[in-house]
């Protein structure tokens, strides 16, 4: 970035300056200069940490001394707590996919239809929860789903004649709360993705289908769904990543990662607990690598399922 000095001289004698500092004018050198911030950041803050995580996962890291212990950390992962964390993260991902793909997709189609009014208003309103931080959202949900009789959820269900519940104290209800929180924050975002996808579908397709006498359902299932496939795959992929790396939601609902019987413990929560709270960097790194492998396998599997690799060379 120390190239401002020749700029002043440039107007006086362009040619001479061009020769003197030809490096500033070289189209061969310039691209490397432009990508330099990424290269540096990639090497220092990505490649090195990834390699270091792989390395540490085979080590016992104690203050002042580091010792290779082979696969012990990975063997140490085979314990009920980590399996519970994997189960929780998987359930959370699965349930959020079941809600956060079909509902926003349908809402997007409805919002795009000629029959709908006040489209922009609803698009913006549904998006507002996405502006809140997980900390704010978590605070609201933790109080809404509180175990007190007067908390909002308990008021609602007792008015329908049900018993009040300890929402954050029971396994299924805890999962329900987490998924509701995810739905609240993400419906508006995924809606935007699907709407962007709908904009890319040529109108002529629908018009010619209408001429052929296709019903609304046929248009939806033969044109909309297949042509939304790329955006659906994208939303699917980011949802899987988001689901498996969920941590803050559970951190906020249960005072810093401490849920009863670990009903809210996630994979990243387990990593945080072992790696940072108990300072066991070796085991924590092994959790990280396990998460990487897991999300990678699931993503590849998912893309295979959608036939991603067949169609596009």
């Amino acid at each position: 970035m120390a190239n401002h000095s020749p700029e002043a001289a440039k107007t006086v004698e362009p040619l001479k300056v061009a020769k003197k500092s030809s490096i500033l004018y070289s189209q061969k050198v310039a691209p490397y200069f432009f990508v330099l911030p990424f290269i540096l950041s990639f090497l220092i803050f990505f490649a090195y940490p990834v390699l270091s995580a792989i390395n540490m996962s085979f080590q016992e890291v104690l203050p002042g001394q580091v010792k290779y212990i082979g696969l012990s950390n990975y063997r140490g992962l085979w314990n009920p707590t980590f399996l519970k964390a994997i189960t929780n993260s998987s359930k959370y991902t699965l349930f959020s996919l079941l809600i956060l793909i079909p509902i926003p997709l349908l809402l997007a189609v409805f919002l795009n239809s000629k029959m709908m009014v006040a489209k922009n208003f609803f698009r913006s309103t549904l998006f507002i929860p996405a502006l809140t931080s997980v900390v704010v959202a978590g605070t609201i949900f933790r109080l809404t789903f509180g175990e007190l009789e007067g908390s909002l959820m308990n008021t609602i269900i007792t008015s329908f004649g049900f018993e009040k519940q300890r929402w954050l104290g029971k396994e299924h209800l805890a999962m329900f709360t987490l998924v509701t929180l995810a739905a609240w924050r993400w419906i508006g975002i995924n809606l935007l993705y699907f709407m962007a996808g709908l904009q890319n579908i040529p109108k002529e397709l629908y018009e010619s289908a209408e001429i052929d006498g296709a019903s609304k359902w046929h248009k939806f299932s033969w044109i909309t769904i297949p042509l939304l496939k790329p955006i659906t795959i994208y939303v699917f992929t980011i949802s899987i990543y988001g689901g498996y790396s969920m941590f803050t939601e559970s951190y906020m609902l249960w005072n810093g990662n401490r849920s009863p019987n670990d009903i809210g413990l996630t994979i990243v929560g387990y990593l945080y607990r072992n790696g940072l709270e108990q300072n066991n960097l070796g085991l924590g790194s092994a959790v990280g690598i396990a998460l990487l492998v897991l999300t990678f396998i699931i993503t590849i599997g998912q893309l295979k399922l959608f036939g991603m690799f067949k169609k596009e060379e």
Binding site: N3, A18, A30, P31, F38, V134, V136, L152
Partner: protein, 282 residues
């Protein structure tokens, strides 16, 4: 025939409207309860939880006056959040527009390779590298400093991707004209191409500022002393196993949303473009 058609239409419109009203209520309701709670004393919350009860005798601005005048650290956190968000957004946009532009405009040997690296970093959740990144930050003396929060994510892959897509659609004539005029390659980028990318900058500025403002996990690890915390981390520290400071938490949460909500109301278009940036090409 025509009347029945019209009637059916309006019926569907009403049904759709009802459906969307349900979802809009679902979206706004929690925020409204938060707003109501922020005017109530915490004892009320501890006793009854979050609810819609509004009674004038318990309503007060006490929680808010405590935030701004009491000996709380809220204003310090707010200032930290503003500083980090501003520096992060400026650096991130500068770096990522540079890289994205470089990848879009020039033909060079490692271009595809570097772009592949950008995509790979996009595909790896950062949670995986937080432990080694934490260790590295200790060694680089970045712990408990705003630079520790900012630097590791300043050259972010998503905006690079977005700027690359945007820059590859820019007209090349300007570029050639500038070169003929004897402007340096970087000068061309800075003075001619950057202004042309203004819409991309708006979208990414909003997206990255929102990210920085709400970011949680990494600042939680890097920032160690209470004076250094950002709003989300500061608010989270109010919840402890020994008791929760709901007075400050609820009103603090409300005040934290205000700037984002304002930006959102005025720049919705850029918000929406920024948010859907990753999915444009599918």
């Amino acid at each position: 025939m025509k009347t029945t058609e019209k009637h059916k239409w309006s019926m569907n419109t009403v049904l759709l409207l009802l459906l969307f009203i349900v979802f809009a209520v679902f979206a706004l309701f929690p925020l409204v309860t938060l707003l109501i709670a922020s005017f109530k004393p915490a004892q009320e919350l501890m006793r009854f939880g979050l609810n819609l009860r509004i009674s004038p005798d318990i309503f007060s601005f006490k929680n808010y006056t405590y935030l701004f005048t009491g000996n709380s650290l809220y204003l310090t956190w707010y200032k930290n959040s503003l500083v980090i968000t501003a520096i992060f957004t400026v650096l991130c946009l500068f770096f990522s527009s540079m890289v994205g532009y470089g990848l879009a405009v020039y033909q060079f040997r490692f271009r595809n390779f570097i772009f592949a690296l950008v995509l790979i970093t996009m595909m790896v959740p950062i949670e995986i590298i937080i432990l080694p990144l934490y260790k590295l930050s200790i060694n680089l003396n970045l712990i408990n400093s705003i630079w520790g929060v900012i630097l590791p994510f300043a050259a972010a892959p998503l905006p690079i991707f977005f700027f690359r897509q945007y820059a590859s659609c820019l007209p090349k004539d300007f570029l050639d004209a500038a070169r003929v005029d004897g402007t340096t390659e970087f000068g061309t980028f800075f003075r001619i191409m950057m202004p042309l990318m203004a819409p991309a900058f708006s979208s990414m500025a909003i997206l990255q500022a929102l990210f920085a403002w709400n970011n949680f996990l990494w600042p939680l690890i890097v920032l160690r002393t209470t004076e250094q915390l950002t709003i989300p981390i500061g608010l989270a520290t109010l919840l402890t196993p020994y008791g929760n400071n709901f007075d400050m938490l609820i009103s603090g949460a409300v005040v934290a949303i205000v700037p984002i909500l304002l930006v959102f109301l005025f720049f919705q278009k850029y918000f929406i473009e920024g948010m859907t940036a990753g999915g444009v090409k599918g």
